[in-house]
């Protein structure tokens, strides 16, 4: 045994982070399933007339035929038992619904009610199964969108993948009552054309998003769904329990991990209440965004840092999303991430730790920042106060 090495690792243990491997393995298997589905769909489409494809379908034909025969036999026996005096009752019952509907004309009222209930239950179960099938990412026709790939629907709505995204895109919204998208994983920006009659819905394995017309960004990673509304308002809810829902307004960002809905920008304290915010002084002036309509919303967004008391910029939390870099701000005292902001990627071309230093320089250009460098970290800063420049 290497005693020196062990002592060394004991001293570096605080840098080690342990993820729940069972969760990670489950996440991995989900991804394998989705990938298999994509490959399977591609193969089926490519070789729909080939002999092996037909062979694959054969068991389904036999199953359908067997089910039909079984229903016919059961219904025939049932009718013969109930109405022996009426031999003409024996007739073709091509499907389960017909089988359930036919006896209600021949049986006493209470039985009819029971059968109607049964019929309703069958319909409800079928409907529930359809809903589950719509939600289940494994059973649908998923496609892989590569980073920067854009898909435009017939109504003008667009989806732009920021990172590789696995998603189910319907051929058309025409016949459906809503515009339903299934989102398995990845990161994408949705720009939704307004249509009050057909809500635009995005479903992940555990969360739903419903809008009439707006734009938003969705990041799906494992159990986590991170939604940021770029324009308008978006309903963000749990599929398992719709009482867990929220309206995400423009500029807000919420994360749902399958259990809790968390506003990632909500927990920040107001540091300088005595100084009025500049935006309140000039409410009639048009927003700067209007002056640059050609730029994408997420690029022109600027954080209103004047409202916040930011404790630190932590070097572990910068993430690239194509055109912009997102920084998460860590409250050292509480050891939680409680704010984030974005700056254009063009400004950030250095290593991850240096990015934080660069971000701080950008902050200093626009805000008065009282900052303290932390001794034990090359690119960590504690922000004691921050306010807008006059």
């Amino acid at each position: 045994m290497n005693e020196h090495k062990l002592n060394n690792e004991l001293n570096n243990l605080k840098q080690f982070k342990e993820f729940d491997v069972e969760n990670e393995w489950a996440h991995f298997l989900d991804r394998v399933d989705v990938t298999k589905q994509i490959e399977s769909n591609t193969q089926t489409q490519d070789s729909s007339k080939s002999f092996p494809a037909k062979l694959v379908r054969l068991p389904r034909y036999f199953a359908a035929l067997a089910a039909g025969l079984l229903i016919l036999i059961i219904s025939t026996i049932a009718f013969l038992n109930v109405q022996k005096e009426e031999p003409t009752i024996v007739q073709e019952t091509p499907n389960l619904i017909k089988q359930l509907e036919t006896p209600k004309e021949l049986t006493p009222p209470p039985v009819v009610e029971e059968q109607e209930q049964e019929h309703d239950e069958v319909q409800e179960q079928t409907q529930a199964k359809e809903e589950i099938a719509a939600i289940s990412p494994v059973k649908a026709d998923y496609k892989r969108m590569r980073a920067d790939e854009m898909f435009t629907f017939e109504d003008g709505s667009t989806i732009t993948a920021i990172a590789e995204t696995i998603i189910k895109l319907p051929d058309s919204f025409e016949e459906a009552s809503d515009r339903l998208i299934n989102f398995s994983s990845g990161s994408a920006v949705f720009d939704v054309a307004e249509n009050p009659e057909k809500p635009f819905k995005v479903l992940t394995n555990n969360a739903g998003i419903s809008v009439l017309g707006t734009s938003f960004r969705l990041i799906k990673d494992g159990f986590n769904n991170t939604l940021k509304t770029l324009t308008g308002e978006v309903k963000f809810y749990s599929i398992a329990d719709e009482s867990i829902s929220t309206i995400v307004s423009q500029g807000q960002e919420f994360t749902f991990d399958g259990k809790e809905m968390v506003n990632t920008k909500k927990d920040i304290e107001v540091k300088i209440p005595e100084e009025p915010a500049p935006v309140i002084e000039k409410p009639e002036e048009p927003a700067p965004v209007v002056e640059k309509p050609e730029e994408p919303a997420h690029v022109v967004e600027k954080p209103d840092m004047s409202k916040y008391d930011l404790k630190s910029l932590h070097n572990s939390w910068s993430t690239f999303y194509g055109d912009f870099v997102k920084f998460k701000l860590k409250d050292i005292e509480k050891d939680v991430l409680n704010a984030s902001f974005e700056i254009p990627a063009a400004y950030v071309t250095t290593g991850p730790g240096e990015n934080v230093t660069k971000a701080l320089e950008i902050l200093k250009q626009e805000f008065e920042v009282d900052v303290e460098k932390l001794d034990d970290c090359d690119h960590c800063y504690k922000i004691n106060s921050i306010k807008a420049k006059n």
Binding site: M1, N2, E3, K5, L6, N8, E9, L10, N11, N12, L13, K14, Q15, F16, K17, E18, F19, V21, E22, E24, W25, H27, F28, R31, V32, T35, A147, D221, G222, N315, S316, W317, S318, T319, F320, G322, A345, T349, T350, G351, P352, G353
Partner: protein
């Protein structure tokens, strides 16, 4: 050609054994836990696709290390990160290819964390506060309302126990 994954060493076992060390290795280079997780997940996805015809001429650990490292460089390129950072990683390739020492370190840390489960609750808590949370003996004593001497004894005892367990572990043999 001998199969890498067999009933004695399944893909699932390898995934669960190496996932955290690999994520920690990637994070030590790119400084982002979420991206690190994604890179390691993607690496295992690629291995999964070829697992039945996988033929490696190094140890499994070296192979995983190299595959993850390649995935990391691809990710950095795709993320439009700095050229300097990619070049740095390339520069380090030769010294890591033969001896994935970095991954060894991460695996030892994982074994230490696992060994902690065998410690008595109080012993484990003091060890955790000291080694993982980075609290000093004095801070732990104040936090738990016990003497500094007691903290020192507990840390010493826990360290000895962990070392003993790790001596028996095959993490140093590989």
């Amino acid at each position: 050609m001998a199969k890498v994954f067999t009933s004695d060493l399944t893909f699932e076992q390898v995934f669960k054994e190496y996932f955290n060390p690999l994520v920690n290795f990637v994070n030590s280079n790119i400084g982002n836990w979420e991206d690190s997780r994604e890179i390691v997940q993607n690496t295992f996805m690629k291995i999964w696709e070829v697992k039945d015809r996988l033929d490696i001429d190094t140890s499994l650990k070296s192979y995983l290390y190299q595959a993850t490292r390649n995935g990391m460089i691809d990710f950095i390129r795709a993320s439009k990160r700095s050229r300097t950072m990619v070049d740095d990683l390339k520069h380090g390739a030769s010294e890591y290819d033969e001896d994935p020492e970095v991954l060894d370190s991460m695996m030892i840390r994982q074994e230490i964390i696992r060994a902690m489960d065998t410690l008595k609750p109080k012993n484990r808590e003091i060890f955790r506060l000291n080694k993982i949370e980075g609290l000093t003996h004095k801070e732990i004593a104040a936090h738990l309302d016990i003497s500094v001497r007691s903290v020192e004894d507990n840390v010493k005892r826990a360290t000895e126990n962990v070392k003993e367990i790790l001596t028996k572990s095959d993490v140093f043999i590989n």
